[in-house]
């Protein structure tokens, strides 16, 4: 698994689209001829990956929004997985 730094600014990968689907009550990731239905936490993370916010920003925002702490390791692990699967990318 690749190392994800706090300063990494992940974005939804080119050719993919993240959107909320009311019919599935979930965020889904759409790509050519396929779709991934995300669980609640994955949806919450992915919907904050806009290429502007850093991983540290995303962690802080999630902790604030959900009144939780200690999410950094989970968020980094998910971002790393999503980068490997090409759901997310890091632009230059």
């Amino acid at each position: 698994m690749s190392e994800v730094a706090d300063t990494t600014r992940p974005a939804i990968a080119a050719g993919m689209r993240l959107q909320w689907e009311a019919a599935q009550e979930a965020h889904v990731l759409l790509y050519p001829e396929g779709m991934v239905k995300l669980n609640g936490s994955a949806g919450a993370i992915m919907s904050r990956c806009d290429g502007v916010r850093t991983v540290a920003d995303i962690v802080a925002d999630l902790e604030r929004s959900f009144g939780l702490s200690g999410l950094a390791a989970d968020v980094r692990a998910f971002v790393s997985l999503a980068l490997e699967r090409h759901w997310l990318e890091v632009r230059e």
């Binding site: 080119a14 050719g15 689209r17 959107q19 689907e21 009311a22 019919a23 599935q24 889904v28 759409l30 790509y31 050519p32 001829e33 396929g34 779709m35």
Partner: protein
């Protein structure tokens, strides 16, 4: 009996916008009677289908045909689909994809283009000899890349081109393809008519896989290659459409709604038409879409099979074409008492390859208005003798 699973939304919507096509592919899965089907839906009809399907939760949209670029209102259809929140895939031969049109499609919100390889002999020969077709595909590929779409190439394989898989991948590389799908022919429609001329031998298949693997290693990180094995060489059937009526809804040019691309051929299936029924009623209430839901329709060996919820008994159309009964197990399964029909077809392909019968001696039926006929007339269909 298990309590039936609740029916989910038709997540995958395929609109076959037209059967019109400038090409005449021998492996086309369009119905062989396509020229006898009714008039095409109007643009207003398609927009209504999009709105109703989206309201039910449809989200992946395929636009195909025929050649969808033949429809002059394609841009309007794309724009409405985009406004509704569909992810839009265009499946095209590239014929008619000009700079002006790709710009219009892009600004209308088209998400993805799959450039498909068409005519198995004429176009492929032309492509491999680097002539007109190669020029056309290269031009279209360049347009696709210039407009920031991933360059996705789909090539249908069969006996007469599978030995050229290396040359095909060389050409794909020169065109700058990022994804190449090498899809072996599936035997429906025109391909079914031509099956005994198209099925490769096992040796051909294995050679092609070895070559493909070599290219995969060499082009790692630049080009992703998918190789789809023809199911005739398998011993378990494909989970066709993840079960009919589960996620997939196709609408044919004449408005017929189908639970799979080829369902028009299934006897006794009263396919509803979007001209007279709403999408909600079609998906949830019509007899055609409920016919193969759950497992109550299954016969043995599927009914008591532990894998029945994995492959759903395979493909209903293949079961019908080969055994004459759509409720039978897909004979690709080696537990089917009809599996011999599949192994015999493969054996005939082996024999033909061993005799190295020149391809041109067999008559291939090119998809054409002139040759358009109903494929299935009797209770049981056999691949027709090709030619007049």
């Amino acid at each position: 009996m298990n309590s039936p699973k609740p029916v989910g939304p038709p997540l995958w919507l395929l609109l076959e916008l037209t059967y019109r096509c400038p090409l005449h592919c021998v492996f086309c899965y369009n119905p062989t009677e396509f020229a006898r089907t009714g008039a095409e839906l109007s643009g207003a009809d398609w927009l209504r289908v999009l709105r109703e399907a989206r309201a039910l939760g449809a989200v992946q949209l395929g636009l195909s045909g025929g050649e969808p670029l033949v429809r002059e209102d394609l841009e309007e259809i794309v724009a409405e689909a985009h406004r509704l929140g569909f992810y839009i895939n265009l499946i095209t031969s590239g014929i008619g994809l000009t700079e002006a049109r790709i710009k219009a499609l892009k600004s209308a919100g088209l998400d993805h283009i799959q450039l498909s390889f068409q005519d198995s002999t004429r176009e492929m020969n032309d492509f491999l000899s680097s002539t007109r077709t190669f020029e056309l595909k290269s031009k279209v590929a360049a347009l696709i890349r210039e407009h920031d779409y991933p360059m996705v190439l789909n090539v249908v394989l069969h006996r007469h081109n599978i030995d050229h898989v290396g040359e095909i991948l060389d050409m794909a590389e020169r065109m700058g393809a990022q994804y190449v799908e090498l899809a072996n022919t599936q035997y429906y429609g025109w391909a079914w008519l031509n099956r005994d001329q198209l099925l490769p031998s096992r040796a051909q298949l294995e050679r092609a896989e070895v070559i493909t693997q070599r290219y995969r290693e060499r082009l790692e990180g630049r080009m992703k290659i998918y190789f789809v094995v023809p199911d005739y060489f398998e011993t378990r059937p494909k989970a066709c459409m993840s079960g009919l009526g589960s996620v997939f809804l196709a609408i044919a040019p004449d408005g017929i709604a189908m639970p799979c691309h080829a369902a028009r051929m299934l006897p006794g299936l009263e396919l509803p038409n979007v001209r007279t029924s709403g999408i909600r009623e079609i998906w949830y209430d019509s007899s055609a879409f409920n016919r193969f839901r759950g497992d109550a329709w299954m016969k043995e060996p599927c009914r008591s099979c532990p894998e029945k919820h994995k492959d759903f008994g395979g493909c209903r159309c293949q079961a019908y074409l080969l055994t004459g009964d759509a409720d039978n197990a897909d004979p690709v399964c080696d537990l089917s008492s009809h599996h011999g029909l599949v192994t015999q077809a493969v054996a005939r392909a082996e024999a033909a390859a061993a005799a190295s019968a020149p391809a041109r001696e067999h008559v291939l039926v090119f998809r054409d208005h002139r040759t358009s006929i109903p494929l299935v007339t009797g209770a049981r269909a056999e691949p027709a003798e090709a030619g007049p």
